[in-house]
C-alpha cells in the first residue's frame, strides 16, 4: 500500500470562526490507518473544535475534508458515523438513569418480533464490555457505577458502531485509574492492529509517549506541527504547546520551601472525628494558616467527601469542626462562605459553572450570595471585580459579558477560581482543580496555591495526579476506601505515598 492510500483522513486549510474567537485558522491534519494520533494543545487551542468539525457537530467556514481519499462534506454526527467516525466525548453524554446496556445499545438494540430483544441487548452489551475487561451487571442504571465505568460504557458504545474506522477519544482517561487506563490502552492496541485509526486527546503527556505514534500540536487555533514522539523530547513538546520554555517546575519547589516557613502555629480549622456514615469514615484534620494540605488517594477513596463535609455540602452525623477555635453548629455552603471557606468542586460542569450566565456574573456569584439578596454590588464594582480576576488569572475571554459555557474547560475552571478568590477566603479547598486542563494553566494554578499560602491563607489540594499533590502540599493526607490512612509531612517519596494509597507493602 502506498503512503497515500494509507491516509484515512486528510483535513486541509480548515477555518472556523466563533463570535469573538478565530477557533481554527488554516489547520491541516492527516490521520493514517492503524495509527494512534495524539492531538495536543492548551485549552482553547482548537482541539475540540477540530474534532467537532470532523464529527459533523460544526461545519468549517472553509477548508476541505477527505475521508479515504474522497472529499466529503460532513453534515451531521450521523453522517460522520456513516463514514466510520465515532467519538467518545470529553463530557460523558450518556443517560445515567438508563441501564448500562441501554446506554451502550440505544438506537441499535437488536429486535425480535418488532420489539426490543432485551436478552440479546444485555448479552451484546455484556460482551462489548468484556472486551474492555469490564465485568459488571449491565441491567443496573449507569448512574450507580463510578465515572470510570461510565467512561468505559461510552467507549464500548463508540466501538460498537459498525465499521468504525476512525475512533476519537476526547480525554478518555482523565477520570480513569491507572489500571483502567492500562485496560483502555490494551483495547486501543487491539483496535490499532485491526487498522482502526485513533485520535487521542489527553493532557497526560506520559500516556502520549506510551501509546501514540504521532503527535499533532495546536496552539491558539493554529497548527504548530506534527511530530514523531521518539524524536520530540518532552520539554520541547511542552514548549511547543505553550509557546515558551518552562522552568517553572523548578521554581515551584523553591517557592514551596519558602512558603513552608510561613506556616503559623495556631490552628485555623480543626476537625475531630468528623464523619458521615456511608459517606466517609470519621477522620481528624488540623489545618494551620499558611499551610497547603494535599489529599491523595484513588478515585472514590473519600477525597471529595472530605471536601464536601468541610464545606457543608453534606452534613456530618458525627464529630465536630472548630474554626478559629469556635465550634461550628450549622453546616451549609452559605455558612461556610461566611466563615471564610471556599470550595472549587470536582465536577466543574455540574457543580461549578452556571453556563448561561456571563463571566462577570459567575465571578461575583459567591461573593454576592454571601452579601445576601439586598446588598447588591453595583455594576461598576461588578465590572471591576470581574476585570481584576480576568487579568489576574489571565482568563481567555473576549470580555466579561461572554457566557461562561462558551469558554474552554480551563478558562471555566479559572472563572470558578476567580469566584472563590473574590470572596477572599481563609481556606480554599480545591477538588481536582487541574482536571482536563493544559500544562501551562496547571502550573499557574499550582503557583497560585503557593502564593495564597504565602499570604497566610490555607489550602486543601485534591488531585489524582500525585506529582501535583507532592509539588504543592506541605503535608499530605492519604485516603483509602473512605478512610484516612496516614499523613506525611515534609519531603516524602512518591513511592511511599503510593504504597499507602494502595494499602500494600510491596509495589
Amino acid at each position: 500500500m502506498s503512503e497515500l492510500e494509507n491516509e484515512i483522513v486528510k483535513m486541509r486549510g480548515i477555518y472556523k470562526y466563533f463570535p469573538g474567537v478565530q477557533a481554527l485558522e488554516n489547520v491541516d491534519f492527516t490521520l493514517k490507518k492503524g495509527e494512534v494520533h495524539a492531538l495536543l494543545g492548551e485549552n482553547g487551542a482548537g482541539k475540540s473544535t477540530l474534532i467537532k468539525v470532523l464529527t459533523g457537530v460544526e461545519r468549517p467556514d472553509t477548508g476541505t475534508i477527505e475521508v479515504e481519499g474522497k472529499e466529503v462534506v460532513i453534515r451531521s454526527t450521523q453522517n460522520a458515523e456513516e463514514l466510520g467516525i465515532s467519538t467518545v466525548y470529553q463530557e460523558i453524554n450518556l443517560c445515567l438513569n438508563l441501564t448500562v446496556a441501554e446506554n451502550i445499545m440505544i438506537g441499535r438494540a437488536p429486535q425480535k418480533f418488532g420489539s426490543l430483544d432485551w436478552k440479546a441487548t444485555n448479552n451484546k452489551a455484556r460482551q462489548l464490555l468484556k472486551e474492555l475487561d469490564v465485568d459488571i451487571d449491565v441491567t443496573q442504571p449507569l448512574g450507580s457505577y463510578s465515572v470510570a465505568i461510565q467512561q468505559m460504557a461510552a467507549i464500548a458504545r463508540a466501538l460498537d458502531v459498525s465499521n468504525t474506522k476512525i475512533l476519537i477519544l476526547d480525554e478518555p482517561t482523565s477520570s480513569l485509574t491507572t489500571h483502567e487506563t492500562a485496560q483502555l490502552f490494551n483495547v486501543m492496541r487491539k483496535l490499532k492492529e485491526q487498522g482502526v485509526a485513533i485520535i487521542f486527546i489527553t493532557h497526560f503527556l506520559d500516556q502520549v509517549y506510551e501509546i501514540c505514534d504521532k503527535i499533532t500540536v495546536l496552539r491558539n487555533g493554529a497548527l504548530v506541527g506534527s511530530y514523531i514522539p521518539s524524536e520530540l523530547p518532552r520539554l520541547e513538546l511542552i514548549a511547543k504547546m505553550i509557546g515558551r520554555i518552562l522552568n517553572e517546575l523548578d521554581d515551584m519547589s523553591k517557592h514551596k520551601l519558602e512558603s513552608s516557613q510561613n506556616i503559623k502555629s495556631d490552628i485555623l480549622l480543626e476537625a475531630k472525628g468528623l464523619g458521615r456514615s456511608g459517606f466517609i469514615n470519621p477522620f481528624d484534620l488540623e489545618l494551620h494558616a499558611g499551610e497547603v494540605v494535599g489529599l491523595a488517594g484513588l478515585l472514590g477513596s473519600g477525597r471529595t467527601e472530605i471536601a464536601q463535609l468541610l464545606f457543608g455540602v453534606e452534613n456530618p452525623d458525627i464529630g465536630s469542626i472548630k474554626m478559629d477555635g469556635k465550634t461550628i453548629e450549622d453546616y451549609s455552603p452559605l455558612k461556610s462562605i461566611d466563615r471564610g471557606l471556599a470550595l472549587c468542586p470536582e465536577d466543574r460542569k455540574a457543580e461549578g459553572i452556571v453556563g448561561e450566565l456571563t463571566v462577570r456574573e459567575n465571578i461575583i456569584l459567591a461573593l454576592q450570595a454571601n452579601r445576601g439578596w439586598f446588598k447588591y454590588l453595583n455594576t461598576k464594582t461588578q465590572n471591576e471585580i470581574a476585570d481584576k480576576y480576568i487579568k489576574l488569572l489571565s482568563i481567555a475571554t473576549p470580555n466579561a459579558e461572554q457566557l461562561v459555557k462558551n469558554l474552554s474547560g480551563g478558562n471555566q475552571q479559572k472563572v470558578i477560581l476567580a469566584r472563590w478568590l473574590a470572596t477572599n477566603p481563609q481556606l480554599l479547598i480545591l477538588d481536582e482543580p487541574t482536571r482536563g486542563i493544559d500544562v501551562g494553566t496547571k502550573a499557574e494554578i499550582q503557583r497560585l496555591v503557593l502564593d495564597l499560602a504565602e499570604e497566610g491563607k490555607s489550602c486543601i489540594f485534591i488531585s489524582s495526579e500525585l506529582e501535583e499533590v507532592l509539588r504543592t502540599s506541605h503535608r499530605i493526607i492519604v485516603l483509602k476506601e473512605k478512610e484516612k490512612v496516614t499523613e506525611f509531612s515534609g519531603e516524602v517519596a512518591e513511592r511511599k505515598i503510593m504504597q499507602s494509597m494502595a494499602g500494600s507493602e510491596e509495589l
Partner: protein
C-alpha cells in the same frame, strides 16, 4: 471592518430577548392595520381615552400580571399551574369581605338594603385588598413549600392547587356567585382616569418588580438557580428560599389579577374567573423568550408576550371571529412565534446577519 461591526450588532439584536416578541406583536398589529378598518382609531370622551389599542392594554392587564409572576417561577425552572385558581380564591375572599350579607338566607330589613348599596362595604377597601393579597401570597407560599422543600415536581405540586383552588374558592362563598356592588372596588377593574385604571396598577407593579429583581441580587440568583441549581447551591445561594420567593410572588400577582378580574366583571365567579388563564400566562412568558427549563428572563419581554396574546384575541373579536375559533387562532399565533425561536429559524437569521466569510478569506 465596519461591515463586520454592523453585522455583529445585527447579530446582537437578533440574539436579544426582545426582538421576537416585538416582531410578533408588530405582525399582529400590521394584520389589524390591513384587515380591520379603524382598528387604530382613538376617541376621547370626557377626557378619557378609548379605542382598540387601549382595550388591548386594559384587557391584557390580568394576563400581564400573571405573566410577570409566572416569569420568575419559570426562570427558576418551575411552572405554576394554579394561578387561575388563585385568582378565583382572591376574588371570592374580596367579595366575601365586602359583602358577607349576600350569603345570609334571611336578612333583617335594615340590612337588606346594604346588599346592593354601591357605597357599602363591610370591611374597608384597604383591608379587603390587604387580606386578599395576603391570602394569595399564602397560596403561592404553599406551592413554593411543595416545590422547594418537599421536592415535588412543580407541575404536579401546582396542579394540586389548580384543582383544589377552585373548590376552595367555592367553599369560601358557599358556592354562591357574589355580586360586587361596591363602586370604589369596581373602579380598580373598570375605572378610567384618562387611561384605564388597571394600566396604572400594571405599570407601578412592573416597575416595583423590576427594581425588586434587578436592583437586588434576586434576579441574578433566580437565573442562576434556573440554569444550574447545584452550582448555585455550591456557590452559597439558598436555592430553596429563592424558589419559595418566586412562587410566593407568583401567588401574590395572581391575587392582584383576581382583584382586577372580579372588579371588572363585578362578581366573584369561582368557576370562570381566571379559567385557563394560567396557560395564557405560561405562553406569554414563553413568547417572551424565557426557557421552560429555567434561566435568563426578561420581565419586559414577558409583558410584550402577554400583549401578543391579548392583541390576537382582541383583533379576532374585532373582525368578528366567533369565540370558539379565537382559541384556535391563538394557537396558530403561538406556534408561529415559537417557530421564530427554533434553532433552525435562528440559524437562518444568523446566516443573513453574519459576515460573508468566503469572500473575506
Amino acid at each position: 471592518m465596519t461591515q463586520n461591526k454592523v453585522s455583529l450588532s445585527l447579530r446582537k439584536i437578533s440574539d436579544s430577548k426582545l426582538v421576537f416578541p416585538i416582531i410578533a406583536l408588530a405582525l399582529v398589529l400590521i394584520f389589524d392595520l390591513i384587515f380591520v378598518r379603524g382598528f387604530f382609531n382613538i376617541e376621547i370622551r370626557d377626557g378619557n381615552i378609548y379605542g382598540n389599542l387601549i382595550d388591548i392594554l386594559r384587557s391584557g392587564s390580568t394576563v400581564i400580571l400573571l405573566a410577570l409572576g409566572m416569569t420568575l417561577v419559570i426562570a427558576t425552572g418551575g411552572v405554576d399551574l394554579s394561578v387561575g385558581a388563585v385568582m378565583a380564591i382572591s376574588a371570592s375572599v374580596a367579595a366575601l369581605m365586602m359583602n358577607p350579607y349576600v350569603m345570609a338566607k334571611e336578612l333583617p330589613e335594615n340590612l337588606q338594603k346594604l346588599v346592593s348599596d354601591p357605597n357599602f362595604t363591610y370591611a374597608p377597601l384597604w383591608a379587603v385588598l390587604l387580606v386578599t393579597l395576603f391570602i394569595s401570597a399564602l397560596c403561592g407560599l404553599w406551592n413554593g413549600l411543595l416545590v422547594a422543600y418537599a421536592k415535588i415536581q412543580p407541575m404536579v405540586a401546582t396542579l394540586i392547587l389548580m384543582i383544589a383552588g377552585r373548590g376552595i374558592a367555592q367553599l369560601i362563598t358557599n358556592g354562591i356567585r357574589i355580586q360586587i356592588f361596591y363602586e370604589p372596588y369596581a373602579f380598580i377593574g373598570n375605572g378610567w382616569a384618562v387611561l384605564p385604571f388597571p394600566l396604572y396598577i400594571v405599570v407601578v407593579v412592573f416597575v416595583l418588580l423590576w427594581i425588586f429583581t434587578r436592583k437586588t441580587s434576586i434576579g441574578l440568583f433566580i437565573e442562576s438557580v434556573g440554569v444550574n441549581a447545584r452550582s448555585s447551591f455550591f456557590s452559597g445561594i439558598d436555592e430553596k428560599k429563592i424558589k419559595l420567593l418566586a412562587y410566593t410572588i407568583c401567588g401574590l400577582f395572581a391575587g392582584m389579577a383576581g382583584i382586577l378580574a372580579s372588579a371588572n366583571i363585578k362578581t366573584s365567579d369561582a368557576n370562570n374567573i381566571g379559567a385557563a388563564l394560567e396557560l395564557d400566562a405560561i405562553l406569554a412568558v414563553v413568547i417572551g423568550g424565557t426557557l421552560m427549563v429555567g434561566g435568563r428572563f426578561s420581565l419586559f419581554a414577558s409583558v410584550i408576550g402577554a400583549l401578543v396574546m391579548q392583541a390576537t384575541t382582541t383583533s379576532m373579536y374585532a373582525i368578528g371571529v366567533p369565540a370558539n375559533a379565537v382559541l384556535t387562532i391563538k394557537g396558530v399565533v403561538v406556534i408561529l412565534v415559537l417557530l421564530l425561536y427554533s434553532e433552525q429559524v435562528r440559524n437562518f437569521f444568523r446566516r443573513i446577519t453574519s459576515p460573508k466569510k468566503d469572500v473575506a478569506t
